[in-house]
Amino acid sequence: MKKYEIKGNKPTRHGFGEGLVELGERYDNVVVLGTDVTGSVLTSFFQEKFPDRFFSIGIAEQNATTIATGLALSGKIPFFASYSAFTAFRNSDMLRISVAYNNANVKIGGGHSGITVGPDGATHQALEEISFLRTLPNMTVVVPADYEEAKKATIAIGEMAGPAFIRFGRSPVPMFTEKDSHFELGKANVLTEGNDVAIIACGIMVWQSILAAEELYKRKGIKARVINCHTIKPIDVQTIVDAAFECGAIVTAEEHQLHGGLGGAVAEVLAKNYPVPIEFVGVRDTFGESGEPEELMGKFGLTWREIYASALLAIDRRDTNSKSYFNIKDVAHYNE
């Protein structure tokens, strides 16, 4: 099985911030709106480099969203970013009507997303954005797995036409993709080969999936196919259906509510095209709380262990053609 090495830890927000600078260098019409937290979501990198193309809007995400629309309707490529809690929900009507309905070329950065924002607690731990944003017509939704991928994804959404949302995090996470690894919007990357079970993940859960795959092989000889599904919308139907056809058992993993996120998207694809047992790893219909990222990932069931257990469950369901399970408490909860 292909081995992945950690080349240090870095937050995905750095990839976003640096990607913006690179876009700024390539395109004169890339502009960035600040919503006060520029130093947190690292739009500050762009601001330092291109002060004439940076507008501070203040703590006013609704206004920033619609101003971005006006800029986009004037031929600019506006990015704005804040915490996901405020760039996906505070402004949700603006995203729906002004951005998505206009099919405006607005790029939204959702930073400090997920449980791993840590000590700030539940108010700031957005766990529902994927679900909301992928229901908006015209919207592209990307959740990069590490620093390098966040940078590539940022540049990619800048270079595509139409509205897009990119989700990234605050805390340092393992860097395991390479500068030259292939990245294409809408095309999931198969990271490990295997036909026993497929693990489809996004964001920081991709690394946990790689760990789970290593453990599955080491302990059980199970070869898991790990798929980095960085683009949630448009979803890569072919890669997902191939995985279902060839593996017959699927696990999804995301730092997001179980309802409507990556797992939901995968389930939609498979229910229609090739139904197989699916197990879902994610946050189970609850709010987060304060704590260090690792502590919270443990508490909320977002580690390789849950993925590992879910993989065994999915395989067992495939092999016994059984419908419901109650034997592994944490995982079975969602299937009840």
Binding site: N29, T66, N102
Partner: protein, 298 residues
């Protein structure tokens, strides 16, 4: 009895005009509003009639710079209808400006029409700059356009935006006001259709927004308050805006345009119950008579 609704083929040039000519055009626009709403069987009569005089000056009095035969002309001024429910008057205006055939006004709110109930640019209506309909968002979109023109393109284009007065109850309007003042957007002309009417009643009763002029002044706006059924006042307000912008006075401009909802049709006059209703057949006959057209019956 049935009535035969016909739209004239008249279009109007955009040029400096005498008040009497503006009045003539406004009458045509009001007739279009009544006819298209009657045919649509739903929609917003009151505000569309109330703002007809503003539209006649803005598009046909030489205020806005546009080319209807070249809708995406780069140097054009832009108009954003933040109060998206006033779509009927905007559509009538665009048709009379030559963006599309006036007969298309008969398709308002109908299946497959480019004239959506609230403006939607996904239907590719020439002359329409943005979708709108969720109140308060249009003014903020206009801000983005004005920032783009002033700071990025360094162009002398202007952005006009019309909001309602009840609309100002939306918090985003005040985020936009703060931002317009902060960025000294002197290329932005914000027109508030101030008729003291909203769906539930008088604005002052539902949720008071007054004093209005002081609020805008506090946000560093240049404020002009006018009787927006008086063409001399409308023209001079726009003249002032253009003059200030030409001289870069560094302040966004707001026109508090005092209007009467339903202006021009006696039974709708200043009556908030006409915010969101179309006229029925009998009311259409009466309204059009008051607006100078005897409808054909058959």
């Amino acid at each position: 009895m049935a009535i035969n609704i016909k739209f004239s083929e008249k279009t109007f040039q955009n040029k400096r005009r005498e008040p009497s000519e503006c009045a003539e055009i406004a009458l045509e626009l009001r007739r279009d509003v009544i006819k298209s709403l009657y045919l649509a069987k739903s929609g917003h009569s009151g505000g569309s009639l109330g703002t007809a005089d503003i539209f006649s000056v803005l598009y046909f009095g030489g205020v806005m710079r546009y080319r209807s035969e070249e809708p995406y002309w780069k140097e054009r001024d832009r108009f954003v209808l933040s109060a998206g429910h006033l779509a009927p008057i905007l559509y009538a205006t665009l048709a009379r400006a030559g963006y599309f055939e006036p007969s298309e006004l008969s398709t308002l709110r109908k299946y497959n029409s480019r004239l959506q109930g609230h403006p939607g640019i996904d239907h590719h209506l020439p002359g329409l700059e943005t979708s709108s309909g969720s109140l308060g968002q249009g003014i903020s979109i206009a801000l983005g356009m004005a920032m783009s023109d002033k700071y990025l393109d360094k162009s002398d284009r202007r952005v006009f935006c019309l909001t309602g007065d009840g609309e100002l109850q939306e918090g985003i309007c005040w985020e936009a006001a703060m931002c317009a003042g902060h960025y000294r957007l002197d290329n932005l002309c914000w027109i508030v259709d101030s008729n003291d009417c909203q769906i539930d009643g008088r604005v002052r009763d539902v949720m008071s927004i007054y004093p209005l002029a002081d609020k805008f002044r506090a946000f560093n706006f240049e404020v002009v308050e006018i009787d927006a059924h008086n063409y001399e006042e409308i023209l001079s307000a726009f003249d002032k805006f253009i003059d200030y912008h030409t001289h870069n006075n560094g302040k966004p401009f707001v026109i508090i345009a005092n209007t009467f909802m339903g202006k021009g049709v006696s039974f709708m006059h200043d009556n908030y119950k006409w915010h969101g209703n179309p006229p029925n057949e009998e009311q259409t006959i009466k309204a059009l008579e008051e607006l100078g057209e005897i409808v054909e019956l058959f």
